[in-house]
Amino acid sequence: MTNPVQTLTKSVTVNDNPFMKPVEWLSLLLLAGVILVVLPLALDGFRLNLVGKYLTYAFVALGLVICWGYAGILSLGQGVFFGLGGYCMAMYLKLEASSVENTKIQSTPGIPDFMDWNQITTLPWFWQPFKSLPLTLILVVAVPVLFALIISYAMFKRRVGGTYFAIITQAIAAILTILIVGQQGYTGGINGITDLRTLHGWDIRTDHAKVILYFVNGGLLIACILAAQYVKKSKLGRILVAMRDKEDRVRFSGYSVAGFKVFAFCLAAGFAAIGGAMFTLQVGFMSPSFVGIVPSIEMVIYAAVGGRLSLFGAVWGTLLVNWAKTSFSESFPDLWLFGLGALFIAVVLAFPNGLAGIWREQIEPRLTRRVKGLRAPPSAIAPPHSAPAE
């Protein structure tokens, strides 16, 4: 991590504060180019769908950059919001797949199969709203954000923060998993909600549909990056950084610290929820194994490997870790976990700022010089940045 104080003073001294600096535009262009052009051209349908799955985790990592990297709130329970978003989507898809004719083999046709196995004969009330697609799309984001609002409001109002907050989010992830597994008649239990088929009559299982979903996913991700960039660049973003580094000073300056923290946490939850919903659509099922502690911590690792202060780094980090996970496990079914562990240790030891750190220290200064060199005669170049501006 860059020295916070240095980061703070740096961003204050930058007078002109455009939405994105040229290098950042370049990074965005590079990412968009790779996600929307290079990968679809280079990969077959199966691998592209895998990348699509990885990118749904990038939504979570993106939220963590804002919430953890900028606002300093470490959440070890992002899987909760990813899962809630995914479950909302899955409930809609499951209801559509459980039409009376598809389920005529059951003792109560027309309800999801796992309810029938658990002797439930009517659709529970909280499943009812998911019969409507527009309502589902709203609830996909609304339910996790509302949940995040309640948790974070209750805690930040009481000034619970730091490690305690991280532990509580982790506990919530554990509780929610146990709840979902225990209430299998209503949630599908440990199996999750499986065998999802169509979205409003459109078969999501075909290869063609997978490609379309991939692009929708990529587009949404870039929209979320821009939204996060907007927050980061706005005055709000400055306050988040200030709050992270000296919470009391911000409070004594008359700001409501709790309010800003709640906002950052809810934003991260909203991103995670979109990722969860896209995950369900692309993978075709949702299970409690995405809600618990392990996936939540894995998601923090994505952000850490990418660099927790960089929006783009988070996306690259997610892609790298997941790609490594898949290819190690394909090549060495017995040993792959060791390989993955070694990768984490190597990254943390050698590049504490993650991938983004390498980019900033090695590549960006040169690029900045180039870009400036194009604009002005070489003599006018300002002394090169020694540390990145955030």
Binding site: F114, W117, N191, F285
Partner: protein, 422 residues
């Protein structure tokens, strides 16, 4: 992607010379018996019309189990049995004249990973068949993948039933096959008329207990005095053990799975419940689990399964010997391990009957197939893709083996959607 591929041959046959000799030997009978072995020479275009990974000399089969994570301990046996079966098939000349090449993937005890790897095996590797999965959750996760890409899965675990797919063959028992005969036996022989159900909290124990409850209440006219579930991995059973002491059921009926078993049986013993006096029937403890529990902690309990390592017949003796030779003297063989061993053989027989590797033809050829070489004895495939098999009751001994005290006289028909039990 240099996968863990093993083309034939057990550990002892690794030298190139021996392998060549073997290949030569394998070819010899085909030459001598040309008319009978004519199918062996069938061109690839004839036996594979759907783009599976079949060459003139090889056919690719996937193995998909958890090698890492919490389920690895249970799934290892199944995976080893499948490799043994495939090595034996290859030694005997392969399937339709082609050696089986294995591509193994790790499901990592994680259901979405199972789905991802299943898709890889079908879409990328074009596996002609896949042997794999253990938990119901992993099967449910891969099922849509197999149905969508028209793959073929041989699933080895005893499970809850309520499922039947064109693309899956279930080589373990479904719940009614496993439970009903055992309950009848315990009712008749041990006077079991009151039962206490204890299970892990997921679909298999819940469904099994539902079936058991209906049978106890409606057929045996007994009663169920308690029914409790615990999360997977739970290790505190003292409260339920106290309740057992209070309600004094004739039979404790358990389907606790995995590591929880160790805590359960140790605490039961520590609480002074003596399994030589208190009847306990389990449907979830095989020789593999006893390895962890410790034979002295569970001696006297009854298990209800289709296979025990101690079954006394020629097939089983050969199987146990071959298994120990390949995987070590100390390994034990449980119900699921044996069921997993059946998968490759059933697939081979179906391919040879169909004269093709095409999934549709193999599926069509399967119902009615009989396999007399099964370690558990004779089995056959039903129209509903499950196996007809016998049910046995074994009494756990301190050395970790079971003494078989009951074998159902006839093969029991699989009934995944039992009427009157839902």
């Amino acid at each position: 992607m240099a996968d863990d591929t093993e083309t034939g041959a057990t550990n002892g046959l690794r030298s190139p010379l021996r392998r060549r000799l073997l290949m030569g030997l394998a070819g010899a009978p085909a030459l001598a018996l040309m008319p009978r072995g004519a199918w062996a020479a069938a061109p690839t275009s004839a036996v594979n019309t759907t783009g599976l990974a079949v060459t003139d000399t090889e056919v690719t089969v996937g193995i998909l189990h958890s090698v890492t994570g919490t389920m690895a301990i249970s799934e290892t046996g199944a995976q080893e049995a499948e490799k043994l079966a495939i090595a034996q098939i290859n030694e005997a000349g392969g399937v339709l004249g082609r050696k089986i090449k294995i591509i193994q993937e790790d499901g990592a005890s994680d259901w979405p990973t199972f789905a991802e790897k299943a898709k890889k095996l079908l879409v990328n590797d074009h596996c002609a068949a896949v042997m794999g999965c253990w938990t119901s959750a992993s099967r449910k996760a891969v099922l849509p993948v197999f149905e969508q890409y028209n793959g073929l899965l041989y699933y080895p675990t005893f499970y809850e039933g309520l499922e039947q797919s064109k693309n899956v063959f279930y080589t373990g028992q479904e719940a009614t096959q496993q439970i009903l005969a055992g309950l009848d036996w315990v009712h008749k022989e041990k006077g079991g008329d009151s039962f206490y159900f204890i299970g892990s909290d997921y679909i298999w124990p819940r469904t099994s207990n539902k079936i058991a409850r209906k049978h106890v209440e409606n057929v045996l006219k007994g009663k169920v005095v308690g029914e409790e579930y615990f999360p997977l991995g739970h290790t505190q059973f003292n409260s339920v053990i106290n309740k057992i002491k209070l309600t004094k059921p004739k039979v404790i009926f358990t389907d606790v799975v995995g590591g929880s078993n160790v805590a359960f049986y140790k605490q039961l013993k520590a609480a002074g419940i003596d399994l030589s006096k208190q009847v306990l029937m389990t449907i979830s403890v095989t020789e593999d689990e006893i390895d962890g529990i410790g034979g002295e902690n569970i001696a006297g309990a009854y298990a209800c399964m289709k296979y025990f390592q101690s079954i006394d017949n020629e097939n089983n003796k050969a199987f146990v010997a071959a298994f120990k030779k390949m995987w070590g003297e100390k390994t034990v063989i449980g119900d699921v391990t044996q069921a997993a061993y059946l998968g490759p053989f059933l697939w081979k027989m179906a391919c040879e009957k169909a004269g093709s590797f095409d999934v549709d033809k193999v599926v069509a050829a399967s119902p009615g197939l009989e396999f007399k070489g099964a370690p558990e004895g004779y089995v056959k495939i039903d129209e509903n893709h499950h196996l007809w098999s016998k049910t046995r009751v074994g009494k756990a001994k301190p050395d970790g083996q079971f003494e078989i005290v009951y074998t159902s006289p006839e093969l029991i028909k699989p009934d995944p959607f039992p009427k009157g039990y839902q």
